[in-house]
């Protein structure tokens, strides 16, 4: 039995954390004026033309974005990542799809499966010419968000902002106030998609010094199954901001595989938020692969909201140069008999800075929770730096939760062994580095994606 006091204590803790986050000084930089103006314009546009709910959504997003500003390292959730550079750049939203992206430009990013249903977004707008949505698996419906807003707003009303909310999430708030396009993907009940759907967000050279705020909503109805790959890629080396938000509604008995591939340009800012809400006996399997951007932050959150459901959140980040890459995961066990598995690995070279913060909450009702979280980091260079913070907050007693974190360089005995077998020091190092990464990549269940990312990793460390 859960006492009321315990419930209220848990709530009070959360409430106070939020209040503190709002009240403590120095935790945020005021929202740049240009963003405030953009937000106002979107509110006005929605009030003039849009359905009422959209205006409400915009207003809520704008208000939250204003109230929160841009977080600094004094904000506990952003303790190791400052967004000052993003605020300073204040890149404006890109007005329209520009760009001459050719099929050839994209071939690198299609995992050798250009025939997979692919929705391509160039500089934040749906590009019908590059997309191949003719052969969707049975039971899967996709629609660009801008079109859906015109054609079926009542459907979007039920979906948008329902899973990912702007409270205590400055970038979700900004996205909610500013999104103009993206994708709505619905899988009908009891349908299993046999091929993955690929959502490819591209920013090309003409998107330099601009920002995109795409919103993707995935609805997996009960007992359905789907795989969605979301790629965020940059062509060229432009500086820009990508601020995507993905909401995933996983109904009872449904399974969603979600792969995030972040290959932004070396100068890009990337702040992504993926949030899932899960029903009874559902599964959410996520993988986040990150190699690009000068400053990237990826949130992967899930709410285990039905009995017997579970989530697997894995990831790999490969950094070099002066890159800064931050992952924050949050798993909230809200019902009994739920499980979570998490493995995040990072390989840091150059003067790169990796951050991992994995939160696991177990609510008082969530008895029989089974949680396991691991974060391993390999430091290849003297100046690379990692801050890791695995975190457990447990309010139920009949649980089994573990987490582990390791940081180190290559295993010197393994290296010695390989050299004693006749491998050169260099080869031994490369192989061990690759093996470290492959451990995480092997958990990807979509063969083509796994092979392609493995090849990418192998090339990175062996050539």
């Amino acid at each position: 039995m859960i006492t009321e006091t315990q419930q209220s204590l848990a709530q009070a803790v959360v409430a106070r954390a939020q209040a503190d986050a709002a009240a403590a000084p120095g935790q945020s930089i005021p929202l740049p004026a240009s963003y405030a103006a953009e937000l106002d314009a979107q509110v006005a546009a929605a009030e003039a033309n849009g359905p009422r709910w959209l205006a409400d959504l915009r207003r809520a997003g704008a208000a939250a974005a204003r109230a929160q500003g841009f977080p600094t390292t004094r904000h506990e959730d952003w303790h190791y990542t400052t967004t000052a550079a993003i605020a300073e750049a204040a890149f404006p939203s890109l007005a329209s799809a520009s760009g001459a992206v050719t099929e050839g430009d994209l071939s690198d990013f299609t995992f050798g499966h250009a025939e997979w249903p692919t929705a391509v977004f160039v500089n934040g707008r749906f590009d019908a010419a590059r997309s191949t949505l003719a052969r969707l698996p049975e039971g899967v419906r996709v629609r660009p968000l801008a079109e859906a807003l015109r054609e079926e707003p009542e459907m979007l009303e039920r979906v948008l902002g329902k899973v990912a909310t702007p409270e205590a999430q400055p970038f979700v708030a900004l996205n909610q106030g500013l999104f103009v396009d993206g994708l709505l993907l619905v899988v009908q009940k009891e349908m299993e998609a046999d091929v993955p759907v690929h959502v490819l967000h591209v920013t090309d050279a003409t998107g330099a010094r601009g920002a995109t705020h795409p919103r993707v909503a995935i609805v997996a109805e009960r007992h359905s199954k789907v795989t969605v790959i979301e790629s965020h890629v940059g062509l060229g080396d432009a500086a820009y901001l990508a601020n995507p938000v993905t909401e995933v509604d996983v109904a009872d008995g449904a399974t969603v595989h979600h792969v995030l591939v972040q290959r932004q340009s070396a100068r890009a800012f990337h702040v992504a938020h993926v949030e899932a809400r899960q029903g009874r006996d559902s599964h959410f399997v996520s993988f986040s692969f990150a190699v690009g951007g000068q400053l990237s932050r990826t949130n992967v959150y899930t709410l285990l909201g039905g009995e017997g459901c579970g989530a697997t959140l894995n990831g790999l980040y490969l950094l070099d140069g002066a890159q800064h890459c931050d992952h924050q995961t949050r798993i909230e066990h809200a019902q009994p008999n739920t499980y979570s598995r998490e493995l995040y690995k990072g390989i840091l070279d150059g003067q790169s800075h990796g951050v991992f913060n994995g939160k696991v909450y177990v609510r008082p009702v969530a008895q029989k929770t089974d949680g396991k979280q691991t974060n391993n980091t390999l430091l290849l260079s003297e100046q690379a730096q990692i801050d890791t913070k695995p975190q457990l907050e447990i309010f139920a007693d009949d649980v089994k939760c573990t987490h582990g974190a390791t940081v180190g360089r290559l295993d010197q005995t393994a290296l010695f062994y390989m050299k004693s077998r006749g491998l050169t020091d260099e080869t031994a190092r490369k192989l061990l580095t690759y093996a470290f990464a492959a451990d995480a990549l092997e958990t990807i269940e979509i063969e083509a994606v796994k092979d392609s990312l493995e090849a990418l990793t192998l090339a990175r460390y062996t050539t």
Partner: protein
């Protein structure tokens, strides 16, 4: 089975009595005059008063931090009396002059201040409210050149040592409570172990809060010179009261080349009643600086008392090849809250740190481990191993883990492991079918769970800790 845990958890606090002594107590409130009054009562030199005032002025500019995972009503710093001393304690050339009521208090607590009894061979500095009332075995220690006395005496007799090391590990500006302590600290213990001396006995301070409406702000400073060794114990209790009393202490440790300091705490402040009324707020700053080559600082703590415990005994590993250790058992029951852990800051080469933290949550208690392991860029070959396990007894408690790992050197090896689980029902079942009662079974499982920490404690303390744990968990088996 729940009935037995129930009774196990709910045993009464044994040290909750009040001693009736006349006290010299400052009226509640805090301002520069209070700081001056404390300093004057202690007949302090000007530099110390200046330091206190600097701390006080700094404190005025600081805000009480609220980041820990604990909740409590706002503290009114003007309602606390910052100085309370038993009247007879003014001069205490020998134990005969100590108020018998106070001696009685300590013997009731099981601490003999009477040297004739030669109990345990432990030298004790007894701190009663704001002042040290007695220090035993001083003479014998003096033969080895060891200084072990109250802080007030140290200021009078060894001002150069105090001035050199005071605030060198925990500066007065360190944090809100450290600043408050620096302004109003009343007494505490001072230890200096000279070069090459291995302290022949355990040193111990026993803190007792007695007066009501007061806070206790003591300050401990331990300096181990080159090659010295000392093992230091600290115990604490307080009467049962409905009010919350603030205990904001500062402990500073300095270890020079090849020196070792082992600091053990068994903290058993009054925890408040089952509804969470009363109890001590234990907001303490403890930090050691392992400054010397191959120096070592080891913290062991058993935290069973206090309404709220909030402390992070830390080690700054400055010296090459220095070692920091932290062994902790924290138990919460009733409505206790604990946010405790450690910080290991690796600065020197080949520095090592080891953290073993065992948290037990029962009743409606909330227990958080918060630890930081920092490896700075120059800390080549740094090594850390952290293990923190939590056990949950009963379904209304909480266990939380917040480790912060920051590594800036790739030759470092850092490992962190944590687990949280329920007390094993099959283990209890097994022990019961072997003829043990549920209570014995729980106590056996819990001592097994805490074994790695208890074995770090000096023997007398280990026994006390084990018993305490039994008492704290009484009534929690469900």
């Amino acid at each position: 089975m729940s009935a037995t845990i129930e009774t196990l958890v709910n045993r009464e606090y044994q040290h909750g009595f009040v001693t009736d002594v006349e006290a010299d107590q400052l009226p509640p409130g805090l301002n520069e005059d209070v700081v001056r009054a404390i300093s004057a009562r202690k007949n302090e030199p000007q530099w110390l008063l200046d330091w206190r005032l600097k701390a006080f002025r700094r404190w005025l500019t600081m805000k009480e931090p609220h980041w820990p995972n604990v909740q409590y009503p706002a503290i009114d710093y003007q309602a606390v009396s910052y100085y309370s001393a038993p009247k007879l304690a003014a001069s205490k050339a020998s134990l005969d002059e100590v108020d018998p009521a106070i001696l009685e208090t300590y013997s009731k607590l099981g601490i003999s201040l009477n040297e004739q009894k030669r109990l345990e061979g432990v030298a004790v500095d007894a701190v009663f409210d704001s002042v040290s009332v007695a220090t035993t075995y001083k003479e014998e220690l003096r033969k080895h050149g060891i200084i072990f006395c109250s802080f007030g005496e140290a200021v009078q007799e060894h001002p150069e040592l105090v001035q050199k090391y005071l605030g060198s590990v925990v500066p007065y500006s360190d944090n809100f409570f450290a600043a408050l302590n620096s302004a109003v600290f009343s007494d505490g213990s001072f230890v200096y172990i000279p070069k090459g001396v291995r302290c022949p006995m355990e040193l111990s301070t026993y803190f007792r809060i007695n007066a009501s409406g007061t806070g206790q702000f003591e300050r401990t400073l331990i300096v181990a010179d080159e090659g010295a060794y000392v093992s230091y114990l600290e115990g604490c209790t307080a009467p049962k009261r409905d009010e919350n009393q603030l205990h904001a202490a500062v402990v500073e440790i300095v270890a020079l080349d090849h020196a070792t300091v082992k600091y053990s705490t068994v903290q058993n402040w009054y925890a408040g009643d089952a509804e969470g009324n009363g109890g001590i707020y234990n907001f303490v700053t403890k930090r050691g600086a392992a400054r010397g080559f191959r120096s070592k600082i080891s913290w062991t703590q058993v935290e069973t008392g206090s309404a709220i415990t909030w402390k992070y005994p830390s080690v700054i590993l400055q010296g090459d090849e220095s070692t920091g250790e932290f062994y902790s058992v924290a138990v919460v029951n009733g409505r206790q809250q604990a946010d405790t852990g450690t910080k290991m800051i690796h600065i020197g080469r080949n520095t090592k740190s080891n953290i073993v933290s065992k948290g037990i949550s029962a009743g409606q208690g909330n227990n958080a481990y918060r630890g930081a392991v920092k490896v700075l860029p120059k800390a080549e070959g740094a090594r850390n191993y952290t293990q923190c396990d939590s056990m949950l007894v009963g379904n209304a408690c909480g266990a939380h883990t917040f480790p912060y790992i920051e590594v800036q050197n790739n030759t470092a090896t850092v490992e962190h492991e944590a687990s949280t689980s329920k007390i094993g029902e099959d283990q209890i079942f097994y022990l019961k079918q072997r003829g043990l009662s549920a209570e014995q079974a729980v106590s056996m499982i819990v001592s097994g769970f805490c074994k790695e920490v208890f074995q770090e404690l000096p023997m007398e303390f280990a026994l006390e800790a084990q018993q305490l744990l039994g008492i704290t968990l009484e009534g929690s088996v469900g």
